[in-house]
Symmetry: C2
Subunit: 461 residues, 2 copies
Amino acid sequence: MPDTREKTLRLALELGRRVGSHKIVDDPDILASYAKDESDAEPRLPDVALRAECEADVLAALELAEKTDVPVTPRGAGTGKSGGAIAAEGGLVLDCTRLNRVVEVSREDLLAVVEPGVVTGQLQALLAGEGLFYPPDPNSLETCTIGGNVAHNAGGPRAFKYGVTRQYVLGLTLGLVGGARLEVGRRTVKGVAGYDLTALLVGSEGTLGAFTRVTLRLLRNPPVMATLLVRFRDEVTAGTAVSRIVAQGLVPRVLELMDGVVVDTLRRAGAGAIPDGTGALLLIEADGPTEADVDDQVTRLAAECESAGAIDVLMAKHAGERDRLWAARRVLSDAIKERARHKVAEDIAVPRSRAAELLMGLRVVGERHKVVVASYGHAGDGNFHVNVLWDDDGFDPKPCLGDIFRLALALKGTITGEHGVGLAKRAYLPWEQSGEVIALQKRLKVAFDPRGLMNPGKIWL
Amino acid sequence: MPDTREKTLRLALELGRRVGSHKIVDDPDILASYAKDESDAEPRLPDVALRAECEADVLAALELAEKTDVPVTPRGAGTGKSGGAIAAEGGLVLDCTRLNRVVEVSREDLLAVVEPGVVTGQLQALLAGEGLFYPPDPNSLETCTIGGNVAHNAGGPRAFKYGVTRQYVLGLTLGLVGGARLEVGRRTVKGVAGYDLTALLVGSEGTLGAFTRVTLRLLRNPPVMATLLVRFRDEVTAGTAVSRIVAQGLVPRVLELMDGVVVDTLRRAGAGAIPDGTGALLLIEADGPTEADVDDQVTRLAAECESAGAIDVLMAKHAGERDRLWAARRVLSDAIKERARHKVAEDIAVPRSRAAELLMGLRVVGERHKVVVASYGHAGDGNFHVNVLWDDDGFDPKPCLGDIFRLALALKGTITGEHGVGLAKRAYLPWEQSGEVIALQKRLKVAFDPRGLMNPGKIWL
């Protein structure tokens, strides 16, 4: 019985004949760039990669994968945080980054049709020029791709007002293992013909099929925006402000909380002068159709923060200030990493009202395991990025991570609010979901991929 | 081999022993009330019905259904428009209307947990008392149930601003044939652990499992509202106003268009004085946090209507006027029926920009088949209720309906924007979806229901 490496090389030969051998990558130095993503999951060199340039390339690879019994792992920019793009069982990596055409932008129908390799931030910039808006804003938006965003149902700060990727995917074209090409979903904003296959595929982590086109719902770009930076003496008062804002029905575009460690990190990362005595920050953005509307929102948001005990409320007066703040926010993950020799980051979410309990509980977990815990994130959605930092090379973080997941679940939350399960959280999925629910998902996978060749090894053990 | 009726009677005996025989219905006069819904699909008397009062009743029925090989059809208030609640192959009807407890309302987490038999409008009234808002508003909201809304992914006028049922279902508890109890989804607004089974179940028309609890995301009730009634000389100018409103990024709560025949019907139904020369109406509602915000929206909406050529813009000055308008709107479906001896209504949707083409195309279809076509609906979403009216008892509407579906699909739309496929549109699903897409859905059904006992005969032939 030939091993996966040998089978994949045979597939590569035939695939090269079909789609052009220049698209086949077998150079180990280049393959190394496909071996990991931005998670801590163990790297693995794929046997071969295909740099797909058109839909026919993808379908040919999927057809041959079935014939030759080779695993296929679709990959965008490799910015995932759960190991989803790592070829865990070897085989073929399907590099979709050159499938990067914007096929259509319709101002009238408020939709775009794009290939999966289009970079999210580049699409947003293009759309902004047309007065259009695609809201999802994962932290990696300058490099990550729409295909990866769809595969992981990406969120981001703006999800508080605008929701996550699922709310913006109207339809998908995809290939299944074996080479079948499916069109699911639609170009209309409403539609209930048959099961919602589109909704099932969003967030399926590349385990069901490989996308070749995505139809995205768009909004009009809200023309007016304001940014507030609100200082608090600690997380509890900041958390209270978040609860008050939510309870009042205020829906700012962004409602981000940063704890004391993060504030300090943000300051060092060059976010401008943040006075001493700041134990937590809220970064709030409001948007709307008119200056009057946004001014009114800002007044009400500031009032809730002040009632909750804010030290002060600063407004970013011009775009430069706003950009500097966001630039610092975007490098937070890396900046936090520099505070210690080791870092692991998790992305738990809890019901909105439990955010303060979560932050207090995380402090207890940190003390128990003698690590620094730095948290920031989408407080309005109860979704936090929890960074565990330590210097001792001999420290095993697993018991600490286990306590963090247990805490999130005890508060009726989830082990992953944004990043997905991938390889990184496979062992923890049964803590959240029953054996029957997991078994059902495996049966659904079989309905798409009976041979189990599509991104195997992900989501469950 | 015993037939379904005999098998169902045996099931009923055992089920009565388990859950209480007073919950078993076999009186043909009562069963007759389960034989149809609000569609034109052929009625069928079920063999037996269970009036479930708790989750255990549902699970017992599902367990015995598998043991005895009896089809199960879940049913709410029977207000569906596609035959989904009709026991097409006989067997057991699972009446969920007594599963009607509101288990929890959380103002802090902005969610409610309810049983599937809760009446949508009653839940909304209860929530309004708490300052909370569950947006979906199918026409039948005074009688339809949340379970049926979830099964069909119900929409309604407010979907233009607030989206459809899917956007509000965070989690589900359900039973599968065989009696397994599953909890899927979550209480958090974000979460990406595993496949989105919740999203797949919403809109699955009762063919995958029977819901026992639904966790709904809520909003704060927008405190200020205004209603506009805008008169136009014809549908084309009204359609232009809709396009202008959408293009400007204005998002009123409701943006409903009524054509000339419907305007006349609305007038007769007692909607108040509508002056002569009115060839089309837009019913627009705006909501928001403050009077100033809503006033601003109203000014901008009225300006777009006037630019498009509106005859005049009337404001409903007080709640009484508003209620009278909506009461008339809600009985439109019945009022239209009285205009002719026969009526069939369809619920197609097209991309927003194609609405005017659709309305013109429908006129051509009406002339070709010598029928009256009266259309109204959710113009902002491109989703119209198209009523075909005729008096000749010998007229076969099928060719006309076929032309209507062909028109919707030619405009890149869908055969059903709100009602679902059920029995009514099974024959037309292959016009919209490929054989491979339908085959995949059948495989997904098998993953939930390998024996094919859950609401059989629906969605596809």
